[in-house]
Structure formats: structure tokens, C-alpha cells
């Protein structure tokens, strides 16, 4: 029986999940747009961010410090992975790039499994965000509202970086034509390293703030990876606004469908993706004519 509070609650769930997906997908889409590399390790980076936050939380006991340290760790980890591995694959065929990022994902998952085991790790929400909030006609876990807020702020920060800074100008141009950016005297490899770091940080940041909601396991990123791909296809490859729109659409589809029957939520997601591909192959906000 679907009640009104139940429906609204699922709607908010969908928005929270969607904002989080949007953040992760924004990372994936700027990486693909700029470097031309489809990052199949993106789910593993979401997972790694969660564990980095877990470690930082264990060490400091502070949720805020865990988020900060985990994010910085992912920024550096992403940059190092680009520098050491991805960079050697720019001139290789796409299937090699897909294989190497897939391999990085496996390595990250197994290293985490080796260190932390398969048992779940938990990060409690900060004390001020624990418990439930009454929204008048319904009650809702406070931390989920906080996730929604933090993810929205993170997207806003990413927007400001992309659209209001010099680095953002270079990244937006690089998404369109990184070769031409190089011809303008800008060291595109440095840009690639930074973009991979920012993309990894977006995924990892989402992994940390999501850690109190789900229990961390080494495989926590697997389903996220598939969903972010769908988000990017729906929104348009390389489009930051597209990642936000696609993320919220995907979050709502997953949430509202699971209200009727959870088994159909992934099916519904792919059905909508197929519909978008039929009607607008470049995605809702993607530029026509690019891959």
C-alpha cells in the first residue's frame, strides 16, 4: 500500500541518492570528456574514498576531518594513478584503456579486501546529524537530509570551479578538444592529471559522506559504477549539467520504482536510458556530434 508520506519519503530518498549519483557521475563525465578514457575504476574510487574516510575517522574521531582527509587522499591517489598508469594508455586503443581502468578497479578492491577484510566497516554519522527529523507529516533520518545538502554543496563548488576559474576554463575547453588546448601552449598532461584527481575526489567524497548510510564493504562501488554509467549516458557524455540532471532522474527512478517493486528498479533505469538513446542519442544535455 503506497501512502502519501511513504511516497514523499521515497521522493526525498530519490533526490538524496540522485544528488550523490550526480556527484559521482560528474567525476566520471569530466574524466571521460577530458581524457577520453572511460574510467571503469570509478566505482572502486567511490569505495576507496569511503575506506579512506573510515581510516581517517578511526584516527581522529572527527567526521569533518574524515571527509577532508579522505577527499585529499583521493585527489592525490587519482593524480598518482593518472601519472603512473593512465598516462601510458592515451595513445592506445579504447579497449586497452577500458581494460587497464577495469584492472585498476580490481586491484583497489582486492587491496582494500586484503587490508580490511570482507567484513563491513562502519562510520557513524556526526552526532549533530544523528537521529531523525520531523518534517511535520513524516519523519526522516536526519543524516540522509544532510547527505543531500552536502552533495548539493559539493556540486555547487564543482560548478564554481568549472565555470568561474581559470582551471575550469581549461577543463571545459579540454572536454571539447584537448588537442587544441595543447596547441594553445597549455600543458594538457598536467590538466589530465588534475582532472583525474578531481574526478577521483568527487567519487571518493561521495563514498565518504555515504559511508554512514550504507555499511562499507570492498564491493560497495560495484553497483554504483553501473548506475553512474547510465547517468552519464542519460545526461550526455562530457556534460556537467547533464550529470546533475541524469543523476537526479536516475535517483528518482531507482527510488520510486523500488517503492512498487525493488526488483524492477534497475530494469526501469535501463529502460529509461534506452528511451533517451532512442530520442536523443547524445543524451539530454550532451553536445550533438561527439562520442
Amino acid at each position: 500500500m503506497i501512502t502519501w508520506p511513504n511516497f514523499v519519503s521515497q521522493l526525498v530518498n530519490g533526490l538524496a541518492a540522485g544528488t550523490l549519483l550526480a556527484l559521482i557521475s560528474a567525476g566520471l563525465t569530466i574524466i571521460y570528456g577530458t581524457l577520453g578514457v572511460l574510467n571503469l575504476a570509478h566505482g572502486a574510487m567511490f569505495m576507496l574514498g569511503g575506506y579512506a574516510g573510515f581510516v581517517a575517522f578511526q584516527a581522529t574521531g572527527s567526521f569533518a576531518l574524515a571527509v577532508l582527509a579522505g577527499s585529499l587522499f583521493m585527489l592525490v591517489a587519482g593524480a598518482v594513478i593518472e601519472l603512473v598508469v593512465i598516462r601510458r594508455f592515451y595513445s592506445r586503443p579504447p579497449e586497452d584503456q577500458i581494460l587497464v581502468t577495469f584492472g585498476i578497479g580490481i586491484v583497489l578492491v582486492e587491496v582494500v579486501r586484503f587490508i580490511f577484510g570482507s567484513l563491513t566497516a562502519t562510520v557513524p554519522p556526526p552526532a549533530w546529524a544523528a537521529g531523525i527529523t520531523s518534517l511535520g507529516f513524516m519523519i526522516y533520518p536526519t543524516y540522509r537530509l544532510v547527505v543531500l545538502g552536502i552533495a548539493a554543496v559539493a556540486l555547487a563548488v564543482l560548478y564554481v570551479v568549472l565555470y568561474r576559474t581559470r582551471i575550469g576554463l581549461i577543463v571545459r575547453a579540454g572536454i571539447e578538444d584537448s588537442g587544441m588546448v595543447g596547441l594553445l601552449g597549455i600543458n594538457v598532461y598536467r590538466v589530465f592529471m588534475l582532472v583525474f584527481g578531481i574526478g577521483a575526489m568527487a567519487a571518493g567524497f561521495a563514498g565518504i559522506i555515504n559511508a554512514p548510510v550504507v555499511s562499507l564493504t570492498p564491493n560497495v562501488g560495484d553497483s554504483i559504477l553501473v548506475q553512474t554509467f547510465v547517468v552519464v549516458v542519460i545526461g550526455g557524455v562530457g556534460s556537467f549539467p547533464g550529470a546533475i540532471l541524469g543523476g537526479i532522474i536516475a535517483g528518482e527512478i531507482l527510488s520510486l520504482t523500488s517503492m512498487v517493486n525493488p526488483a524492477y528498479s534497475d530494469v526501469m533505469l535501463f529502460a529509461v536510458m534506452t528511451l533517451v538513446l532512442f530520442l536523443r542519442p547524445q543524451g539530454l544535455l550532451g553536445l550533438a556530434g561527439r562520442a
Binding site: 576554463l169 575547453a173 571539447e176 578538444d177 595543447g182 596547441l183 594553445l184 601552449g185 597549455i186
Partner: protein
């Protein structure tokens, strides 16, 4: 005498296809040099090899006194070479001014925007328009303007007049003339050989990836049979 650019016997490939065969040329400071030849003669590949967008497999390129043949494109651009590509490659999602700002970001010396806008008043009118919303002529102006922002020692122009209305070609030719008179060194690839000869001091003719003739623009005009043989005009 040392030239701004000296190219010694470069060989360039696309995959396994050998495109340039022992191409040698030189460009003096302040000179305008045109590369002429039929479609597929290797003109664009020569320009791409100069700026490092295509890496020559052998040969030497000396630019501004330093070896450039092994440098990545961004490093060559950073040393003062700029390519205006045939397909313009204006950033469609950025507006005119953002395209120009981007071009100057890492420049040591740069033209102020006012100087660019004085040369291309149309771009000033359209400064807030996105690249995708520009006409072909405006995109070409922006592509040239973007190259000038970095105050380059050498500008490579790849078919700048292709596909444009005659009145736009006349305007752009005027801009190029002004640049050349101001001492800007230019290497120009152009199918429109009348336009090319009106700008150039010297001409190289490429045929099937080989330099087959080197002559002054005056000689080229005086010996139409040479142009006829290699260009079919």
C-alpha cells in the same frame, strides 16, 4: 644567416602511410612563406609537423635557435609558434572572450584584448556569443585572433580563406596584410593561390610529400607554367 625556422629533411607518417619525404625549408624573421600544392600534397601535414601535432620520424626542426622536433605541441606553442588549424577548432561551448582568455593563460607576453578587438571589431560585438553560434567567417577570425593572443613569433595559417564568402576573404586578407606589414612571420597554406601570392614573399611547392620548387612570389607570378604543372591552374 640563421632563420627563425629551419627544417631539415623531415619525414612524417600517418600510421604506416609515409606523407612527407625529406621536406626541408626555412623561414626568415618577418617573412611570409606560402606552401602551395594540390590536395593531399602534404601541406597541412607539414604545418602539423612543425608544431608537433604530428611527430616527424626523422629530420630536424630548429625553431628560434632550439631543436623542436622532439617537443610536444604545447611546448612548441609555448616557445612562440601558433597554428590556426584548417577546421578552426574554436571552442564551441566557450564564448568568444573565453576562447581568447584561454589562449593567453600561459603566455609570457600577450596581446591585450583591446588590441585583438581593434583588429577584429566583429569579435568585440560578439564577445559573449558561444563559439557554436558564430558564422564561419567569425570562427575564422576567432581562430586567428586566438593565435595572436600569445604574441607568437611564428603563425601557421592552414587554409584560412577556405569556404568563406569573398567579402570575408577580403577582410581577412587585409588583416593578414596588416600583420605581415607589421613584421609578423607567417607560414601560409592556401588553395586560393592568388590570395597566397598576394601575401607571400616566398613560395614552396609541395607535390606528393616532396618539396619540388622554391621560388619568390614574384617568380611564381612570372612563371605560370610552374604553378600549372603542380597545381593544375
Amino acid at each position: 644567416m640563421t632563420h627563425l625556422l629551419e627544417v631539415e629533411r623531415i619525414n612524417s607518417f600517418y600510421g604506416d602511410s609515409h606523407i612527407l619525404f625529406d621536406v626541408s625549408l626555412h623561414v626568415g624573421q618577418g617573412e611570409v612563406v606560402a606552401l602551395l600544392g594540390r590536395n593531399g600534397a602534404g601541406k597541412s601535414t607539414t604545418l602539423k609537423s612543425l608544431i608537433g601535432a604530428v611527430r616527424p620520424r626523422s629530420g630536424r626542426i630548429l625553431f628560434d635557435g632550439a631543436a623542436a622536433e622532439a617537443l610536444p605541441a604545447y611546448a612548441i606553442a609555448d616557445r612562440g609558434m601558433q597554428l590556426v588549424p584548417e577546421d578552426r577548432r574554436v571552442f564551441g561551448s566557450l564564448n568568444v572572450e573565453e576562447n581568447l582568455i584561454l589562449a593567453g593563460l600561459t603566455a609570457k607576453a600577450r596581446w591585450p584584448l583591446e588590441r585583438i578587438y581593434a583588429m577584429f571589431p566583429r569579435l568585440k560585438e560578439r564577445r559573449r556569443s558561444r563559439g557554436t553560434d558564430l558564422s564561419g567567417g567569425e570562427q575564422q577570425m576567432l581562430a586567428i585572433a586566438r593565435a595572436l593572443v600569445r604574441d607568437p613569433k611564428l603563425v601557421l595559417l592552414d587554409e584560412p580563406f577556405e569556404g568563406l564568402a569573398p567579402i570575408i576573404v577580403r577582410d581577412l586578407l587585409g588583416v593578414c596584410r596588416t600583420l605581415a606589414d607589421g613584421g609578423q612571420t607567417i607560414v601560409l597554406v592556401e588553395q586560393n593561390f592568388h590570395a597566397a601570392l598576394s601575401l607571400a614573399d616566398r613560395v614552396y611547392i609541395l607535390n606528393n610529400g616532396h618539396i619540388v620548387e622554391e621560388l619568390t612570389a614574384a617568380d611564381a607570378r612570372a612563371r605560370p607554367e610552374v604553378l600549372h604543372r603542380y597545381l593544375g591552374v
